[in-house]
C-alpha cells in the first residue's frame, strides 16, 4: 500500500511539473488532469475516500472540463508541447529541483509524508472525512447560508462581467 501511495505521489509531482513548466494550455490542461486525478487517489489512499470523490467530481468533472473546453476554443496552430526547448528547460529545472530536494532531505524524506487518516481502526465507526462533513453541517449551521450567498454572488458577478453583446470583457481588449 505504501508503494502504491508512493507511485501516486510521484504521479502527482509529475503532473504538477507538467503544468508548472508552461506548455500550451492544451497540454497544461492534461497536466492538471493528471495532477488532480493523482491528488484524488492520494486522498483516497490516505483514508479520505469521500473527500477524494467530491474533489474528483467537482474539480475534474465540473471545472476542468470547462477549462479544457475553453482552452480548446483558443485555437493555437502550433501548441508548445513539453519537447519544445523553452518548455523543456523548465521541465528539466523543476525535475532536477525535485531530485535535489529528495537528496537534501536524504533518507528522512518519507517522514514528511502525511500519515494515513485511518480512523476506522479502533472503535470509531465514522471515517475522518465524513465526520468533517457532519461537523461542518452541524456546527457550521446558519453560516452555510452565507456560503450559499457567496456562490450565488459569484454567479451574479460572472454574469454581470460578461453580460450583453457589446460588454463582453474581452471584447474591450
Amino acid at each position: 500500500m505504501v508503494y502504491f501511495a508512493f507511485m501516486l505521489l510521484v504521479g502527482l509531482v509529475l503532473g504538477l511539473v507538467g503544468v508548472a513548466c508552461n506548455p500550451a494550455p492544451y497540454f497544461a490542461a492534461f497536466g492538471l488532469v493528471v495532477a488532480a486525478g493523482m491528488g484524488c487517489a492520494v486522498l483516497a489512499v490516505s483514508g479520505a475516500p469521500f473527500l477524494a470523490l467530491v474533489l474528483f467530481l467537482i474539480y475534474l468533472g465540473g471545472m476542468l472540463v470547462v477549462f479544457a473546453y475553453s482552452s480548446a476554443l483558443a485555437a493555437d496552430p502550433f501548441p508548445e508541447g513539453w519537447t519544445e526547448v523553452t518548455v523543456f528547460e523548465q521541465l528539466a529545472f523543476y525535475l532536477l529541483g525535485v531530485v535535489a530536494a529528495g537528496l537534501y532531505f536524504g533518507k528522512h524524506w518519507y517522514t514528511l509524508f502525511v500519515g494515513m487518516v485511518d480512523s476506522c481502526s479502533k472503535f470509531f465507526t465514522i471515517r475522518a472525512d465524513m465526520g468533517g462533513v457532519v461537523a461542518m453541517y452541524g456546527s457550521g449551521g446558519f453560516m452555510l447560508v452565507f456560503c450559499a450567498w457567496v456562490l450565488l454572488l459569484t454567479l451574479f458577478v460572472v454574469l454581470e462581467l460578461v453580460r450583453g453583446l457589446s460588454r463582453g470583457p474581452l471584447r474591450a481588449v
Binding site: 457567496v150 454572488l153 454581470e160 462581467l161 460588454r167 474591450a172
Partner: protein, 348 residues
C-alpha cells in the same frame, strides 16, 4: 449598470467587510474577503475599455492569490493546532504567511506593484472605494494577527512601504498613480505600529481614509487625472483649488493639518520604544512623499504649464455633483489636528 445590480453589489461589499469584522473563525473571515473581492469586480469593469478590464483582471488575480494564501495558512494552522481562531495563530510560520498574504491584499511594499496599475485603470470614485473601504477588512485581520507576527517583518514591511511609496511617486504625472503611491506610504506608517500600539494604527487608518477621500473627491470634482489638468483647475473652481493644496499637504503630513496627527503620534511611540533609527528613516521617507505632494501643489497654485491657453474661464453653474461628502472630508482633513486629545481619549 442597472440600479438593482448596483444595490446587490454594494450591499455585498458591506456584507463582506462586516463578515470579516465579526468573525472569529478563519473560514468566515476568508469568505468575507472573497465577497469583498467579488463584489467590487463589476464596479471596476463598469467602463468597458481595455484599461479597466486589465485593472479588473489584475485586481482579481492578486486578491485571489492572497486569499488562497490566507486559506492555506489558516488550514495549516488548523492542521497543526486543531483550531480555527483568528486571534490565536499558534505557529510563527502560519502567522508569517498570513501577514504576507494580508500585506499583498492591501498593497504593502514588496507586493505593491498591482496597486498603482489597478488604480490607474479605474475611475476616481471606484478608486476611492478601492483605497478606503477595501482596506478595512484586511486591516481588521492585520490588527488581530499582528501580535503573533515576527516584529522584524512588520518593520521591514513598513520601511519598505514608506520608501517605495515615496520614491515611486516621484516621477509620476498621473494623479491616480500618485494617490496609489501615497496609499502605499501611508499603509507603511500604519503597519509600523501595528504591534507596538494598534490604537495608533487605527487612528492612522481613520485619518488616512478621511484625507484620501477628500483627495479623491476633489480630483473627481475637477475631472483631473493628470498633473497638467490641475494647472488649469483654478478656472473652474478657485476655492476648491486652494483647498486641494491644503488637502494634499495634509496627506503629506504638514503640521497644522490633520495629516500630521498620525505621523506625530507614531513617531513619538516608535521613539519611546527605542527604535531611533527606524523613526529617523520613517521621518525622512515622509520627505520623499512630501516632495510629490508639494509638486502637485505647485502645479495647481503657482504655475501654468507653458502650453497654449485656449480656454476662457467657464461660467460657474450650480454644481451638478453632490458636494456634501467632499466639503465634510475637506474640513476634517484640514482642521482635525486640535482634536488630537479627543482622538487619543476615544481610541486609546
Amino acid at each position: 449598470m442597472s440600479p438593482l445590480v448596483l444595490v446587490v453589489l454594494l450591499s455585498s461589499l458591506g456584507l463582506g467587510t462586516a463578515m470579516t469584522f465579526a468573525s472569529s473563525h478563519w473560514l468566515l473571515a476568508w469568505m468575507g474577503l472573497e465577497i469583498n473581492t467579488l463584489a467590487i469586480l463589476p464596479l471596476m469593469a463598469q467602463q468597458n475599455h481595455p484599461r479597466a478590464m486589465e485593472a479588473t483582471t489584475k485586481y482579481f488575480l492578486i486578491q485571489a492569490t492572497a486569499a488562497a494564501m490566507i486559506l492555506f495558512a489558516s488550514t495549516t494552522n488548523a492542521w497543526a493546532s486543531g483550531q480555527w481562531d483568528i486571534t490565536y495563530p499558534s505557529h510563527p510560520v502560519t502567522a508569517t504567511i498570513t501577514m504576507a498574504a494580508l500585506a499583498m491584499k492591501i498593497g504593502l511594499a514588496p507586493t505593491h506593484f498591482w496597486l498603482p496599475e489597478v488604480l490607474q485603470g479605474v475611475s476616481l470614485t471606484t478608486g476611492l472605494i478601492l483605497s478606503t473601504w477595501q482596506k478595512l477588512a484586511p486591516f481588521a485581520l492585520i490588527l488581530q494577527v499582528a501580535n503573533y507576527t515576527p516584529p522584524y517583518m512588520l518593520t521591514a514591511l513598513a520601511l519598505c512601504s514608506t520608501l517605495v511609496g515615496g520614491w515611486g511617486g516621484l516621477n509620476q504625472t498621473q494623479l491616480r498613480k500618485i494617490l496609489a503611491y501615497s496609499s502605499i506610504a501611508h499603509l507603511g506608517w500604519m503597519i509600523l505600529v501595528a504591534q507596538m500600539a494598534p490604537q495608533l494604527t487605527l487612528i492612522a487608518l481613520i485619518t488616512y481614509i478621511v484625507m484620501t477621500t477628500a483627495a479623491f473627491l476633489t480630483l473627481n470634482n475637477m475631472d483631473a487625472t493628470k498633473t497638467a489638468t490641475l494647472a488649469s483647475s483654478w478656472t473652474k473652481s478657485p476655492t476648491l483649488t486652494a483647498m486641494a493644496c491644503l488637502v494634499l499637504l495634509s496627506l503629506g503630513g504638514l503640521p497644522p493639518l490633520t495629516g500630521f496627527l498620525p505621523k506625530w503620534l507614531i513617531l513619538q511611540e516608535v521613539t519611546n520604544q527605542g527604535f531611533i533609527p527606524t523613526a529617523t528613516v520613517m521621518a525622512l521617507s515622509a520627505l520623499l512623499s512630501l516632495y510629490f505632494y508639494l509638486r502637485l501643489t505647485y502645479a495647481m497654485s503657482l504655475t501654468l504649464f507653458p502650453h497654449t491657453f485656449n480656454s476662457v474661464t467657464p461660467w460657474r453653474m450650480t454644481a451638478k455633483r453632490p458636494t456634501l461628502l467632499l466639503s465634510t472630508t475637506i474640513i476634517m482633513t484640514t482642521c482635525l489636528l486640535p482634536l488630537t486629545p479627543s482622538a487619543l481619549t476615544l481610541l486609546i
